[in-house]
């Protein structure tokens, strides 16, 4: 990789900003600003830096509406908001999806709008850690904060997750590499373990790599649980792992002083889904008979956890909440976005701070081609190719301040470093405008 000169040409440094990318929410990022533009980023990883140094060619700067030829046409804010409000007010089964890349502040009017029109509100958890949330409801949650792991953990296990690619500073800031109160030598005082069928970039750094078979996670965790309970393993090889290795690993896990298990989408996206997480949580419960173990899901977006916390607090349900009957209902597989799209139930889809075009399976996206789609986002992305009304938002954590929740549920206030482009509006303002306009339309039709 070519050497790059450090950036020296800047007006000011805005210190201790929070990175608005992954669930690690690193809050030590310095942003270098010149003429109200970000010219450099310090301390962030490759992912964080690339998001903060955004691609201005593809920034959504003006509101747009599709014309009858299927082309997007720039319009003024009033026209775009009225069009969106009309679509929402006239819909029977609207779905408001996204919210994980915006602030808690923007979710508030969003929830009010959802209640008003009897919509379904859902976030990215529905396609990532939804099964985790279900498992937590099934069997509980031995939670900690990342600070505890940093100061105490002497064994760190990652499974179904590749933090070196998805949360690059997770190991170096919170879990494995930093020196902690009881782990004075940092990395040398900790054992890093990866359970993953692939020799992933995280596995390459690990002391122990357990390559169980694809879809073998359920049986593997159960085998460890059996050993913990003093049972003999009857098979010689379980999920591709020889039983001696399982005995040895279990012994190591029992001997740890403080162990932390982090799991990612490798567990929730394979066939056993929430049952995998049930078992992982129960494994940690079993380990606590011997020593201290905790676990944490590796949440993807910086505020995906925030939405679940916000919704649970306000409505009692974490995601996929349906207000069509006038009161909140939550039924996995029925009121969740992918299922609603698969069944072609929804008739207006609003996506805010998310990109279903890039992340939903084609089978579900096919329905978005049949119905009007409203997009509130900062970049022209795959979802814009399916959107009928586009409303440009502002960049939380860089252009707008707001609150988010880290993966371990610690709330963090993200400050702003620069002013947003003149023609863009804050998500909170946009959602509030939609709410007021839909209210007016409703009253007029009474």
């Amino acid at each position: 990789m070519a050497y790059e000169e450090p950036v020296t040409d800047y007006d000011k440094i805005v210190e201790n900003c929070t990175c608005a990318f992954c669930g690690s929410n690193c809050d030590d990022v310095d942003i270098l600003v010149k003429d109200n533009h970000v010219v450099g980023v310090r301390h962030a990883c490759r992912l964080g830096a690339s998001k903060i140094m955004e691609d201005e060619d593809q920034r959504l700067t003006v509101p747009m509406v599709r014309d009858e030829n299927g082309e997007l046409v720039e319009v003024d804010w009033d026209t775009a908001l009225d069009k969106a409000a009309e679509l929402i007010a006239g819909s029977v089964r609207p779905v408001f999806y996204g919210w994980s890349e915006t602030s808690i502040e923007a979710m508030k009017p969003g929830l009010e709008l959802t209640e008003l029109v009897g919509a379904v509100i859902d976030n990215q958890a529905t396609i990532c850690h939804g099964p985790t949330v279900q498992a937590v409801q099934n069997v509980g949650y031995p939670l900690m904060t990342l600070g505890e792991v940093k100061n105490r953990a002497d064994m760190v296990v990652y499974t179904g997750s590749n933090p070196m690619n998805a949360h690059p500073r997770h190991l170096s800031r919170y879990t494995t590499i930093p020196k902690g109160w009881f782990r004075k030598r940092g990395r040398f005082d900790r054992t890093l373990v990866t359970w993953d069928p692939k020799y992933s970039d995280t596995a390459k750094l690990s002391d122990i790599w357990v390559p169980f078979e694809e879809n073998g996670d359920y049986a593997f965790c159960n085998a460890i649980r059996a050993v913990l309970k003093g049972k003999k393993l009857k098979q010689d090889v379980i999920s591709g792992i020889p039983k001696e290795d399982i005995y040895e690993l279990t012994e190591k896990m029992k001997k740890a002083q403080f162990g932390a298990l982090f799991f990612g989408l490798g567990l929730t996206h394979t066939l056993s889904k929430q049952r995998n997480i049930d078992i992982a949580i129960q494994l940690v419960q079993d380990l606590n008979k011997y020593t201290k173990w905790v676990l944490l899901p590796m949440r993807g977006h910086f505020n995906v956890n925030g939405f679940n916390i916000f919704m649970s607090y306000e409505m009692g349900f974490p995601y996929g909440v349906d207000f069509s009957r006038g009161y909140p209902r939550y039924m996995i597989g029925e009121t969740t976005t992918i299922d609603l799209l698969n069944r072609e139930e929804c008739d207006v889809f609003m996506v805010i701070a998310a990109d279903p075009g890039a992340h939903f399976p084609g089978g579900a996206l096919a329905h978005l081609a049949n119905i009007p789609v409203i997009q509130i986002d900062i970049h022209w992305g795959p979802s814009t190719e399916l959107a009928d009304v586009v409303l440009p938002g502002t960049f939380i954590g860089v252009e707008t301040a707001g609150t988010s929740y880290r993966m371990d549920s610690v709330p963090i206030f993200m400050k702003k470093a620069i002013d947003p482009p003149e023609t863009c509006r804050e998500d909170e303002w946009i959602v509030n405008e939609l709410l007021q306009r839909v209210k007016k339309l409703r009253e007029a039709s009474k």
């Binding site: 990789m1 790059e4 990318f21 992912l47 830096a49 690339s50 998001k51 140094m53 691609d55 060619d57 593809q58 920034r59 959504l60 003006v62 299927g70 082309e71 046409v73 720039e74 529905t126 396609i127 939804g130 099964p131 279900q134 590749n162 690619n165 069928p197 692939k198 020799y199 992933s200 970039d201 694809e214 879809n215 989408l265 996206h269 066939l271 993807g300 995601y319 597989g333 976005t337 299922d339 799209l341 990109d355 075009g357 890039a358 939903f360 399976p361 084609g362 089978g363 579900a364 996206l365 096919a366 978005l368 081609a369 900062i378 970049h379 022209w380 992305g381 795959p382 190719e385 399916l386």
Partner: protein, 180 residues
């Protein structure tokens, strides 16, 4: 370095490997998920660009599997599953060996072949999908062209997407003429 032309990958595919039997079509297990190149490009917002198709429209394969099909790095392969088919670049996987398994980073290309089935559990099945891979001469499409080709939301009746001009690498929309 924020922008990249394409991810760096190793080049050790041995086509003459005597242990490798040539096949036309390979049955594999498809996995999807994030990858650092895809993440950086997507969240920066450069999804229309050629860079995005080089980081997300890629099928990472074991070099042995590539030798079986006779495909080299950055040549096109057609990936088919029960849910659709998509053309991707073949590339040597950093995590190899993993014969019989392919990895496509999450994104519009992977979406075409993953399963929307949630088994009543909200979460589609993005990993562990049966698929086949074969060599093809077709081009990997840019993001905007792929979305048009697959979902045809704004394609008029009778129009053939393969005959339409490419939508290109920058946003296209009608601007309001502003007086200066």
């Amino acid at each position: 370095m924020t922008y990249i032309e394409k991810p760096s990958i190793s080049n050790v595919v041995k086509f003459e490997d005597p242990d490798v039997a040539k096949v036309e079509r390979l049955t594999v297990m498809l996995n999807t998920g994030t990858d650092i190149y895809q993440g950086a490009c997507k969240k920066r917002g450069s999804t229309l660009k050629d860079e995005y198709r080089k980081v997300a429209g890629v099928c990472y394969m074991d070099p042995k599997d590539m030798a079986k099909l006779g495909v080299g790095n950055w040549e096109s392969v057609l990936v088919k599953s029960d849910w659709g088919e998509v053309v991707c670049y073949a590339a040597h996987s950093r995590d190899a060996p993993h014969e019989g398994m392919i990895f496509i980073p999450k994104g519009p290309w992977a979406n075409v072949v993953v399963s929307p089935e949630t088994y009543c559990c909200s979460d589609p099945t993005y990993k562990g999908i049966e698929a086949t891979v074969e060599k093809t001469d077709k081009e990997v499409l840019l993001m905007a062209d792929l979305m048009r080709d697959v979902y045809k939301k704004y394609v008029k009746e009778g129009e053939k997407t393969e005959e339409l001009p490419s939508l290109g690498e920058i946003p296209v929309y009608k601007k309001i003429a502003r007086s200066k």
